[in-house]
Symmetry: C2
Amino acid sequence: MQHETMPNFLKKRAFLTPERTAVYFNDQTISFKELYEKSYETAGQLKSLGVKKDQYIGVILKNHFDTVVILFALQLMGVKAVILNNRLSKKELVWQVNDSKAAAVILENEFYEISQSVEVPVIKKEDLFAATLEIPEIQEEIHLNDVCTVMYTSGTTGYPKGVLHTYGNHWWSAVGSALNLGYTDRDRWLCSVPLFHISGYSILMKSVIYGMPIILHESFDANKAIGDIKSKHVTIMSVVGTMLFRMVEALEGSQLPNYFRCALLGGGPAPLPLLEVCKAKAVPVFQSYGMTETASQIVTLAPEYSITKLGSAGKPLFPSQIEIILENGGVAQANQAGEIIVKGPNVTMGYLNRPEVSKEKFNQGWFHTGDIGYMDEEGFLYVLDRRSDLIISGGENIYPAEIESVLLAHPDVADAGVTGFNDETWGQVPVAFIVPKKNAKVTEEELIQFCLVSLAKYKIPKSFYFTKELPRNASKKLLRRKLSELVHEGRIQK
Amino acid sequence: MQHETMPNFLKKRAFLTPERTAVYFNDQTISFKELYEKSYETAGQLKSLGVKKDQYIGVILKNHFDTVVILFALQLMGVKAVILNNRLSKKELVWQVNDSKAAAVILENEFYEISQSVEVPVIKKEDLFAATLEIPEIQEEIHLNDVCTVMYTSGTTGYPKGVLHTYGNHWWSAVGSALNLGYTDRDRWLCSVPLFHISGYSILMKSVIYGMPIILHESFDANKAIGDIKSKHVTIMSVVGTMLFRMVEALEGSQLPNYFRCALLGGGPAPLPLLEVCKAKAVPVFQSYGMTETASQIVTLAPEYSITKLGSAGKPLFPSQIEIILENGGVAQANQAGEIIVKGPNVTMGYLNRPEVSKEKFNQGWFHTGDIGYMDEEGFLYVLDRRSDLIISGGENIYPAEIESVLLAHPDVADAGVTGFNDETWGQVPVAFIVPKKNAKVTEEELIQFCLVSLAKYKIPKSFYFTKELPRNASKKLLRRKLSELVHEGRIQK
């Protein structure tokens, strides 16, 4: 169908508004025309290094102007980018590269050590930019059903799966967001969330689709964010609770300028005291609900409801739908909790090389999130529990099962359970419960070191509780929520 | 594909922003929730009158609040609306109703006389609103490839063809426009163009898709338009040249308020003096190029280019593409004239019950407009000639071939040619050239009366030239452009 093809996003944008600024990065400023030319050049270099259309290519890069160029070069060539989380451990990265069957990996120098452990060519960023220039074949048109990116997410089963994002998923996400938040040619979006997350990558896509300048930061720094909001006329910023908290702290007595119109909050609802401070400091908070599988937010709450609908994530974006279903498959009534299922053109078609899991998660176009929630009489969504005890720590998703399987591999551990504890700084942090093997002696420090071999730092449990038994149900399923209750009741101690 | 289904537009909008105003019409104001409820009720009445999903239903209605309700009721039911131009003659309307194979016609009382000439049930608006209420079956989801509306356009061959608009065409048109013009929740669009034209209907669709109030006028009145821009905070208005001209005249010494940010101009480029007056009076003009087949504008020129790119229609909207092709099928160079071909998700899939014409007009997804133009080095489009000597008079399309075939049916006319003359008020007006039959005497007045039986008033030639021969090429094709030259050269006189 004609609905399915569109001009190449970056090329079209460079044609429409060539002189408009695309990216501010530290002292660098680049227009859409220049970004296109630089990405075109890089595509030519990728070609000379053997990278071809339709390949999956791993990418381990930090937030940087060069990363923007490389990601768009891959789009220009019709290459599918497997964008990996650069905070992962070497072991995790190697696993994901292998799982994706990527034909090659592009990375920053500091991640080069993974090259010893993967069997595919590894291209250092510096070598890429120094490579011979060839004339690349540019995809003049893109097909909305073609895969654009892959991002890994762990999900219920503990091992990560690559979420497929088509150009259409990114396009519809950007459009759904524009229809909700509005868009004017005075908008500028601050991106201090990682480009390897959908939260960051989706800002890149909005930039070319809207023709909107973005301000890219290497990482989040509250004072730098506030400074750029003021000096670079930032109107919108993507945040998680921790970031928002630090920003309102850093504001001290001052306020944000009134052109700053949206702090788009992901990663769980903000607590009332934070919302009240935000209100006092003129930080309009749009709470939202989304996941990698929905190509960024699918449900958003406008600031005028943030107090009256406290704790709600809002209503689904125009092109998208949500439903709450009960265990028997029926649709829930208002205020009745059940599994959140979602549908829409922004929702993934499934997982890379996992047809069975993809099939299992979809039913007649509806994606089963595994998250639990309800809708009130007016259709506002309240998320009660992220899927399978998902821990969200400073905006990063942490799956207990993944940490548990590492802990269980330790020779002195008989059983292990992980759950999230509330934390003032990070929202939540992972906490481990360990049943040592009979007569074995194992220390917290030893387990931390053991975990660091396999897991990203942010996944390492912040506390360890040693106990004789873990709460399990009749079918031996670990009852993770019981773990924190046992601590609160004083039945397990450190 | 999942990309292809979406929630019902009006129902979703009423769910998202129930209290927001949808339509201002004279003293009436209605919210999206109320509009949904009223349309739902009307859908129930249509059901009780036998109207069913997937039928084509003719609609002959004027710009009115009721028309908005009826058009949305048809969408709710999944009925395809054949929206007819109420300025057409009875004969033309009957022809189009029959051609569309519509199952019924909904009309205002004043058009009721066509009921004698069509074989399908005719439903008066008053009878519809007085009908029994049944519980309608609402289309909870729409499919972007489903036909939503049909609008007749004459085109090259002289007889009108029904252009099919899918929900997707309307959706993408609205989205492409929002990405170009921007959209904020302070926007309000004044609709004083006919709802039976794509220019008006597309404003309705934008209203529900954006959640934007529209101000609906029964017809264009410069003072009423200016008054509502000031009192109802209108930010955008669709105009044709004549309207713009009258508005700047009516403004006299005053200016429009500075929140008025866009006069979206269709129906051919504005002349320089008009643009200069607009600039002086703070009327930002966005020139555009589009046609029924592209579901409203496909190319737009931002005001900052209106003088430097004088006469240009601008660049294609983000999701759309244009090319200029030569007679040999090759792609034109910059500044080289050729046929304008267009592609994009807003472009029609073809004509109702005319598979052969539809096929002929498309080539690998590109629609051949028949219009002639060129693009400059920067890709700005200049339209030189509308297809087949199309005459655009006060925003209405007039096809010479259609008028010629009526004139040729007169017993005393041996040959007839029609072309457009420039006109200060209307932009262009149709003018006829008549070769009377040997020894026959026929007068201008007689031909006007004869035309009025078959043609809408705006199509009646404003002047008649009587001559002995019409300029034709070797294959006897009428050279319409020669007609005006002959007058200018004084070789034909009235």
